[in-house]
Symmetry: C2
Subunit: 298 residues, 2 copies
């Protein structure tokens, strides 16, 4: 663990804020829908690093965005992330039994409830963003929604997951694996940064350096994930590891070898930090997040 004090504080704060906001926004009704909300709460309150809300609020803070508005947008992107994990863990997808050290949603509940809870969290993300409480400005709301829906759908995360399924029976080369990961993981990480900039009213032409930062940390994050999958500890990860190798699936580690992969991740982090050169200490948290991404142990 190598998080800076600044990052440690920010991670603890976002974890507490995200948990209390999910708790407040997802009450359990006293009707037969209770099981659905219990499954949604189980999934969103189950832990996780809250990296996407952290990135979103870190960027928003640089532009002095109201914390409550940034947090609501962070809740939306975390809902999308969690719904995708719930569906990804299903028997017909990755068939995973553990997530954050607990049974996955379809085992804690049942498959049908897990499908529905994922679907309902998917809607919940857009409900939160479309609600007037997220931002008083409807232009901003519409831009946030378009950014998130695009990052999540067939031209983003879902497209990357489809490529990931195809990868099980195809031999992808490095450019194709890079594209797969940019969609599967990078799109949502990029949307986190972008949504912070949208809330900060940064004009599109002023976002290029933030997009560069997001692209680089997105790829570095995935290479670090592949390294953790290759040499990490299952207890620290809270989930099964070494599944890609068992499935014969190409990863950055299988294509580059662990040493070159590690070097590549470090280079991407330096590049990500370099994109922030025009910023002073207000970007220190983003710099620390970039370094943490390749040094984390889970």
């Amino acid at each position: 663990m190598s998080a800076s004090p600044l990052l440690k504080d920010a991670m603890a704060r976002i974890a507490a804020d995200v948990a209390s906001m999910f708790d407040a926004l997802l009450p359990v009704p006293t009707d037969p829908r209770a099981r659905l909300m219990e499954a949604m709460r189980y999934a969103v309150l189950g832990g996780g690093k809250r990296l996407r809300p952290l990135l979103l609020t870190a960027v928003a803070d640089m532009y002095r965005v109201d914390r409550a508005a940034a947090l609501r947008a962070g809740i939306a992107i975390e809902s999308i992330h969690v719904y995708s994990l719930v569906h990804d863990d299903l028997p017909c997808m990755d068939n995973d039994a553990m997530r954050h050290g607990k049974p996955t949603a379809h085992l804690a509940f049942d498959e049908a409830t897990a499908v529905l809870a994922g679907d309902a969290l998917h809607d919940f993300a857009f409900e939160v963003l479309a609600d007037t409480a997220t931002s008083s400005d409807p232009f901003t709301r519409a831009e946030l929604i378009l950014t998130l829906a695009t990052a999540s759908g067939s031209n983003g995360m879902a497209g990357g997951q489809m490529m990931d399924i195809v990868a099980e029976t195809s031999q992808f080369d490095l450019p194709t694996i890079t594209r797969l990961q940019q969609l599967k993981t990078g799109a949502l990480l990029g949307a986190s940064v972008e949504m912070g900039a949208i809330l900060g009213k940064v004009p599109v032409e002023g976002r290029a350096h933030l997009r560069g930062y997001a692209r680089d940390i997105g790829l570095a994050f995935q290479i670090a994930d592949d390294l953790l999958d290759y040499e990490g500890d299952e207890a620290a990860a809270g989930k099964a590891l070494r599944k890609d190798a068992a499935a014969g699936k190409q990863t950055f580690v299988s294509l580059l070898g662990p040493d070159r992969a590690r070097e590549q991740a470090r280079m991407l982090v330096e590049q990500a930090v370099a994109h922030l050169a025009s910023h002073g200490q207000e970007a220190d948290l983003l710099r620390d997040i970039a370094r943490y991404i390749v040094e984390r142990d889970h």
Copy 2:
């Protein structure tokens, strides 16, 4: 078949417009995501009455909304409807093999692809609504999105589907079955009417009669569905019937008997039409839709 000439024309027109717009908006890319888009296209181009876009455009026409803007909103609500069918048909849900007379998506492709195609259509709906082409006015876009996300999520369709799963192991009474159906089917039919009114800039206080109309036809639609399930023809329906009875699930027909159920549906249609009394012939299509809903044979 008892559609009026007015309704027949409108149904043929919306079917053609919806199909050509889906075709244009969902091109198949020449990369490994192709299979995802093929599954999305298979599901959305597979037929269906297009009742939700029909309702939306019928209301929008009453208020002289631009046809292209109304159609895009109709595409969004149809995407939500179709995604829910794809997930509903999954083995862990209703385990259905036929839909619109064709193999369901998870049989035509595979389960993982069907889950992802549903998820991607879910996003696609919000992408379409958030896009500036849907409406040049961001207030309207945000209101459309909030209406659709609410109707689709845990307080709407997904909540109703959860109740439907619980119904398999519980004995629900008539008020609970009514609530279940208002969520499962009624919420999205209601959103269709509401979104037409939003595009038509009808103020909230001027929508009460349209909401009453939508509530009544939503319930009538479900009773008619239960009657078709009870006494209909599988070939005309293009799907398996009499599954509720086999599962011992309560329906309007099991609770009321077929005669009282039919009478109730007819009464609801009269009530729906009465809500439109303040309108002249511009509401004739809505009146014809209400009557068709209980007289259709599939």
